[in-house]
């Protein structure tokens, strides 16, 4: 089951539609990292609302996506972790340390807007001072 990746402005949105196998997750990682470069995007949203379970492999893959995207110049935010999934993750001892997570897609877009704006603002502006 391939995860559709949509482009919206400067961002890529990967919207997981159903349970994913390990191969599906690895494929998503490769596809996202390739597209970050191709589309020169500044942000990535991975919507996991439909994920039934996040086990150690899923968590590791999401962490890898976030770190790899950052190395390619894009911020990643994970949205839509369900309460039951969060409960099981905590019991498993899994964390998404260093990875931004917010409640839903809307918050994800707002988060990326604030983050990418912040980085743009810190860059020296051309033609001034």
């Amino acid at each position: 089951m391939e995860v559709p990746i949509l482009r919206q402005g400067q961002y890529l949105i990967a919207s997981i539609q159903s349970a994913l196998t390990d191969a599906d997750l690895s494929h998503l990682r490769e596809a996202l990292i390739a597209q970050v470069g191709r589309s020169r995007c500044r942000g990535v949203i991975v919507d996991v609302t439909a994920l039934d379970v996040m086990d150690s492999f899923a968590v590791r893959t999401l962490r890898d996506i976030a770190h790899m995207a950052r190395l390619r110049g894009a911020e990643t935010v994970i949205v839509g972790i369900q309460p039951d999934v969060a409960f099981a993750m905590v019991q498993l001892g899994l964390t998404l340390k260093g990875v931004a997570t917010v409640l839903d897609l809307e918050e994800g877009l707002a988060f990326l807007d604030s983050r990418t704006k912040a980085t743009l603002d810190t860059k020296p502006k051309r033609g001034r001072g």
């Binding site: 492999f57 019991q91 498993l92």
Partner: protein, 135 residues
């Protein structure tokens, strides 16, 4: 309790199938949706372990009863290489397969009972159970 579900594990789609069947069985046993997810996550970890280390094996799901307590049992069987050092394999963060090392210790944390029986060169059997909290 006679109901028993035997699921072959030989590809990553089988891992997904096993955890979904496990969730369904946990629902039948009356577990809350949070606990169903916990059981599904534990199954996912040990089913993946079969794939990674033994390539193939089997997950057997069943309902269990102890007095008036209901629960589910999950047995993972493979004829793989076996675990040479079980104590080490049960340490959180230890992995011989570039994993995160959360597989066995993670599954143990999620379940109420957890037993590993492994013979090097023969295979591994993991038996785990989760009991419903009495109301």
């Amino acid at each position: 309790m006679g109901e028993e579900l035997r699921l072959p594990i030989a590809a990553d789609v089988d891992v997904v199938e096993a955890r979904q069947q496990g969730r369904a069985l946990a629902a039948v046993a009356g577990f809350s949706s949070g606990e169903q997810t916990v059981i599904a996550a534990a199954i996912s970890e040990i089913a993946r372990n079969i794939l990674m280390y033994a390539k193939k094996g089997e997950i057997i799901l069943g309902l269990v009863q102890n007095g008036d307590r209901q629960g589910v049992s999950v047995v993972a069987i493979d004829q793989g290489p076996g675990i040479p050092d079980i104590d080490r394999a049960m340490q959180y963060g230890y992995s011989t397969s570039h994993g995160v090392g959360a597989g066995l210790p993670g599954a143990k944390r999620l379940m109420d009972e957890f037993e590993v029986d492994s013979v090097v060169g023969r295979g591994t059997t993991i038996t785990m159970k989760k009991w419903r909290r009495s109301i």
